[in-house]
């Protein structure tokens, strides 16, 4: 670490030593002296607009703004002198001249910087007798945010966030002078994956979330700090509960290591499912094709009996899928119980991802920021782990890193982010900057061949950091806990069991007697899903997979249980049950279910402390003996196979608000969920004569990569398609996407009503083109 030059500054009589160049407003924090700010933000630096951070500095005739004053040695600062107080008072009075003072109905009331500073530094009355300028009170900015123009203090934090942090530049300042307002282009919806952050950045009640508007006052909320488990990033967040319901979540500003102080919209907004009426509240058993509610004791008996009987005949006919959505402790005990019964068919992999731990060269998210080159292969983290994408953007926007995406069918990055899209590995190597020092590889964990050959081709001498932004929040933890067909906890060698694909293959042949699925929805995400003779599913909702099961167990969600989770970079993070959150009476956490099952199966469990210690021991060090694309993860071959001539190859893509579980059962965010869509390159669209907003169907021409698509239309995943003789995917909204490779059509995966999973990698033809009605064309014209 470089030795930084320290300078001494005196603030209100207290001396403090800080590194040279520190902003005065930060130096003051060190002696717990708050200097009020509106426009300044630690992550975005000074803007110098709000003028409320005025301080008196000896030797300077005018008051200075503390946000843009770098401390110098011997500087003597007064924040509370008459002159400074008077300046601040005057500025605050100006803020209130046209402020509506509607604090009684303002969501921000109680945690509003304008309220607080007016209280602390204001004069308590106004000399203004003129009526206040009235402005629109509820401007609909987009699907998530509402703007109250009267309350806006034009600090531009939100605008700068969109510019400096996200790089989308959707939110801008319009007009001039006193008429300055926050707006989007032509009133188009404000929509990207990080919009919710502006409500936290807003120092007043101008920008509010639709999900939280008029829901609560901050002092009525009960707050718990936990880890977001919507994706493997592992952002720390506050969960605020009132009347037993999650009202909102908020970021931790000092979570520099992981979230960098931001949350993505999925993590922030997809919290309304806990009290959804669709929630399973009791164990359900399918008797003669009809669901009946049963008690827990009966449910556990049915489950344990099935396992015991199958194990007696052949433990290889028993399988377990799950772990990526469980806590570390749950995953550990899960494999413990089943391994005790001789079962080796354990696999967390329920979707397309094959590997979760990058092994060697695992880097932190802060390290990612320091890379000069970032290579994105497979599906980009933009929709899988948006906060990782935000770090990529930060590296590019603020530190000039070069972002290279290989064979990406994703939307291009917005213009301010320097990024290159290339078609092949060779082109990517060519696009590398001269003598890269630190290269990061961000991979989706799907195509092992691609990852391996990229690693081989990278120039020697560069430090290489590897990241896997996967599908499930605790996939890395589940791997380390031994939810793998080839490894015990800590990647210890184990007698090899069936992988997920092998389990479904066995099921298809009638050789899988009992399959237990925990927090996973393979029927929605995999083409090869097949029913076992007896299937048990633990989930919060009747997912596609649960519907096809024999026994469904009502589980608890992440805010309803306690434990730890492991994020994609290997940090072990706390999962804390939210205080006063109401849980359905009969729902059990997976841990509770596993413990109860162990009792029924007469499996002895280690003591709680022992579990904790064991879990931590296995997670403490990253495995060094493998890297990206390691063979033992069993990657299917030929993922890069090209489609037939004249056909389109299907790429299935994640969208943060597409899914069959918590997203599908959250009424608050219903309008954020995407419609089934097909993205085409502009060239292909022109050839086909389709444009954005039209509708098309897709008809498969041959098999997908995950297995034979045709000839198996009876699987659950293709239930919708099976109604059709021709197995056609219907009614897809066309998006013409620049930068798409030609001959590719991108579908949104995880939509229960449009099972694109069966089409992944398939060759298809585009048929039945229908023109958009005028109005729809307008509505979908804007990039989401």
């Amino acid at each position: 670490m470089n030795e930084q030059q320290l300078v001494t500054v005196t603030i209100d009589g207290t001396q403090v030593q800080v590194p040279k160049g520190t902003w005065l407003v930060e130096a003051a924090k060190q002696i717990k002296r708050e200097i009020p700010v509106y426009c300044y933000h630690r992550k975005m630096g000074p803007a110098g607009l709000c003028r409320v951070c005025l301080v008196e500095i000896e030797g300077m005739p005018k008051l200075q703004i503390a946000c843009n004053t770098a401390v110098t040695d011997g500087m003597i600062v007064h924040t509370q002198s008459d002159k400074a107080s008077d300046g601040r008072r005057a500025v605050l009075e100006l803020y209130l001249v046209n402020h509506p003072l509607d604090c009684p109905i303002c969501d921000k009331g109680g945690e509003c910087d304008l309220q607080d500073y007016a209280m602390a530094y204001g004069q308590g009355y106004s000399r203004g007798v003129d009526p206040k300028v009235s402005k629109p009170k509820a401007v609909d900015l987009g699907p998530t945010i509402v703007l109250d123009e009267e309350r806006c203090v034009v600090c531009q934090r939100c605008v700068r966030f969109d510019d400096m942090i996200v790089g989308e530049r959707e939110l801008v300042l319009k007009d001039r002078g006193v008429r300055n307002i926050i707006a989007t282009a032509n009133g188009e919806p404000y929509r990207h994956n990080f919009t919710g952050n502006v409500t936290e950045l807003c120092p007043v009640g101008a920008l509010t979330s639709k999900t939280y508007r008029f829901k609560s006052r901050p002092w009525d909320l009960q707050r718990t700090t936990t880890t977001c488990t919507q994706c493997p990033a592992g952002c720390q967040m506050h969960v605020d509960v009132r009347v037993g319901v999650v009202q909102r979540t908020m970021s931790l500003e000092n979570d520099d290591a992981i979230s960098d102080g931001w949350l993505c919209d999925r993590g922030r907004y997809n919290v309304g499912f806990y009290d959804d009426p669709d929630r399973i509240t009791q164990p359900m058993y399918k008797r003669d094709g009809t669901w009946v509610q049963i008690g827990w004791d009966d449910a556990l008996d049915l489950w344990a009996t099935a396992i015991r009987e199958a194990c007696t005949i052949d433990p290889a006919s028993v399988g377990v899928i799950g772990g990526g959505r469980l806590t570390n402790e749950e995953a550990f005990l899960l494999q413990h119980v089943f391994r005790a019964k001789g079962v080796a068919g354990l696999d967390w992999r329920a979707g397309r991802q094959r590997q979760a731990s990058p092994g060697r060269n695992s880097g932190t998210l802060v390290d990612l920021e320091g890379c000069d080159t970032i290579l994105i292969i497979g599906e980009s983290p933009a929709e899988r782990a948006p906060i990782v994408d935000l770090r990529v953007r930060k590296a590019a926007l603020q530190k000039g890193a070069k972002v290279i995406r290989i064979a990406s069918a994703e939307r291009p990055y917005p213009a301010p982010i320097p990024s290159t899209d290339v078609a092949t590995l060779a082109e990517a190597i060519k696009a590398l900057p001269k003598e890269p020092k630190r290269i990061a590889i961000v991979w989706d964990g799907c195509d092992g061949e691609l990852a391996t050959s990229l690693l081989e081709k990278l120039p020697a001498g560069a430090e290489i950091l590897t990241y896997i932004s996967g599908e499930q929040p605790n996939a890395r933890g589940a791997e380390a806990m031994g939810m793998l067909p080839f490894g015990k906890p800590g990647y210890g060698k184990a007698e090899s069991g069936l992988s997920t694909a092998e389990m479904f293959a066995a099921a298809r042949e009638g050789k899988l007697a009992v399959l237990s699925i925990f927090g996973a929805n393979p029927a929605l995400h995999r083409a090869d899903f097949a029913r076992a003779s007896f299937a048990v599913v633990s989930d919060l909702f009747m997912t596609k997979t649960a519907q096809l099961a024999d026994l469904v167990l009502p589980a608890k969600g992440p805010f309803e249980k306690t434990g730890t989770t492991t994020n994609m970079t290997g940090d072990v993070l706390p999962v804390n049950g939210a205080q006063s959150l109401e849980t359905p009476d009969d729902a059990l956490s997976d841990l509770e279910m596993i413990v109860a099952l162990a009792q029924k199966l007469d499996v002895e469990l280690p003591a709680a402390q022992e579990v904790d210690a064991t879990v931590l021991r296995h997670l403490a060090t990253a495995p060094e003996d493998f890297t990206l694309g390691d063979r033992r993860f069993g990657f299917p071959a030929g993922q890069n196979a090209r489609g037939k001539d004249g056909a389109f190859k299907v790429v299935v893509q994640t969208r943060i608000f597409a899914g069959g579980g918590t997203v599908a059962h959250d009424a608050r965010i219903a309008q954020l969920c995407p419609l089934p869509a097909a993205a085409l390159s502009p060239e292909d669209a022109a050839e086909l004569g389709v444009s954005t907003g039209d509708y098309v169907d897709l008809a498969p021409l041959d098999a997908g990569a995950d297995g034979a698509l045709l000839g198996r239309p009876s699987t659950g995943a293709l239930a919708r398609a099976a109604q059709d003789d021709n197995v056609v995917l219907h009614d897809l909204l066309v998006e013409v996407r620049s930068g798409m490779p030609r001959g590719t059509v991108a579908l949104i995966g995880g939509l229960p009503d449009s099972p694109a999973n069966g089409f992944d990698g398939a060759s298809v033809s585009v048929t039945n083109i229908r023109r958009a009605p005028e109005s729809t064309a307008e509505a979908v014209g804007a990039p989401a």
Partner: protein, 419 residues
């Protein structure tokens, strides 16, 4: 006669827009001389020696401004500020429309002096005619080989790009001008860094006024001593003064700095018969008024500053006893409120508040307390803004509030309050 003809020479007599006419009168000879006989440093030294100060408003010594450029960072840019919009100022427009070649020559000399190979002129959006005239002149100059590659065989390339504004007074502020030139909103930048270090495209940049650059030509021609021999100790040389308002012959007059204000008003034909002088705004809309008893003040930077006002852009607005000072105050406050970019709070909110209160006075709805409030709020918003615009509201308002309180009091709604 105190009126001189240096930059204004030939205006109204010859068609100086024609490059031939301009050259016949000696135009572009100094440019050639500079490129063929002088080093950039020599030009810099001459201007430094002449004591030339910025003619746009701030009056900052030009040579000193140039000296802030870091010696080893390239490219450098010269930007000529022709965004003249200070109320009462109309000298740059005259230079632009009447002697465009003089403007071009001045810019080229300035660019050569600071070794800039790409100069810009930012022309106020409203000056459409001036823009067309300038473009025409630039085409002539380019054809004559005065703009472009390898000028006069010196090996020095110099490009001049004309950039038209689109209606924003604040773009006269140099960092706002640079933002506007970069295709952004004309919002002033947070300083530091200053343009000399990080200006246009974050490269070292100098922004000079049209008149400032044009004076380089006679300074080169007649020597820095000629320029510094007139004026006062620290306000050297000549300046074009725009005189308007209640005078009989409003117009631009080129005079030596230090000429008493009384003489300037006489030059402009004096007041209309039978009228009494009430106030003079001596340096554009941002300056405080001076009054009858101060008529003998020498018109230079220091004397006016000492008198609590400023010379600014050299725009004198004369007001006689027909003036409604409440209306005048409203007029200027409204101007600043209208032109505020709205970035920082005191200027945005304060200006608007004062405008509304003064508007109420115009409707005879003032409160007694408003009078003190106007003075205090306008003072409170001064000195705490990001750029000088917010600080421009107070001077005129405060000076007329103090001088003519009865005009304000007459518009207080006394009867309503007493009820």
């Amino acid at each position: 006669m105190p009126v001189v003809k240096v930059l204004t020479a030939g205006i109204g007599e010859a068609d100086l827009r024609d490059i031939k006419v301009y050259r016949d009168r000696g135009g572009y000879t100094q440019l050639k001389r500079a490129f063929t006989e002088m080093k950039p440093a020599d030009v810099q030294a001459l201007s430094d020696k002449s004591g030339l100060r910025g003619r746009g408003g701030a009056g900052f010594p030009t040579g000193k401004k140039w000296s802030f450029l870091p010696p080893d960072v390239r490219p450098r840019y010269l930007v000529c500020n022709c965004d003249e919009a200070e109320p009462g100022t109309f000298k740059d427009r005259m230079l632009l429309e009447e002697t465009p070649h003089q403007v071009i020559e001045g810019i080229l000399l300035g660019a050569y002096a600071i070794e800039s190979h790409h100069a810009f002129i930012y022309i106020r959006g409203e000056f459409k005619r001036g823009y067309e005239i300038f473009m025409e002149a630039l085409a002539q100059a380019r054809k004559a080989g005065f703009v472009g590659k390898n000028l006069f065989g010196s090996g020095f390339d110099l490009e001049l790009t004309v950039h038209r504004g689109a209606g924003a007074y604040i773009c006269g502020e140099e960092t706002a001008l640079l933002n506007s030139l970069e295709g952004k909103r004309g919002e002033p930048r947070l300083k530091p860094p200053f343009p000399a270090l990080q200006g246009l495209y974050s490269k070292p940049t100098v922004v000079n006024n049209v008149e400032t650059l044009a004076y380089l030509i006679p300074i080169l021609e007649r020597g820095p001593e000629w320029f510094s021999s007139v004026g006062t100790e620290r306000s050297k040389g000549y300046k074009i003064i725009s005189i308007s308002g209640h005078v009989q012959k409003p117009g631009n007059y080129e005079v030596a700095l230090g000429t008493p204000v009384r003489e300037l008003i006489e030059i402009a034909g004096g007041l209309r018969p039978g009228r009494k002088l009430m106030a003079i705004q001596p340096g554009g809309g941002s300056s405080a008024c001076i009054f009858e008893e101060q008529l003998d003040l020498p018109y230079d930077y220091e004397s006016l500053q000492k008198a609590g006002t400023m010379l600014g852009s050299g725009a004198i607005v004369v007001m006689d006893d027909t003036t409604d000072f409440v209306r005048a105050a409203f007029n200027l406050v409204r101007f600043f409120a209208h032109e505020s970019c709205g970035q920082c709070t005191p200027c945005r909110e304060g200006g608007h508040w004062l405008e509304r209160v003064l508007h109420r006075f115009l409707e005879n709805r003032g409160l007694t307390s408003d009078i003190e409030m106007l003075a205090r709020v306008s003072h409170e918003i001064t000195g705490i803004n990001l750029c000088p615009l917010g600080d421009s509201i107070e001077p005129f308002l405060a000076s007329v509030l103090k001088r003519f309180p009865e005009q304000f009091e007459a518009r207080v709604a006394r009867e309503t309050v007493r009820a």
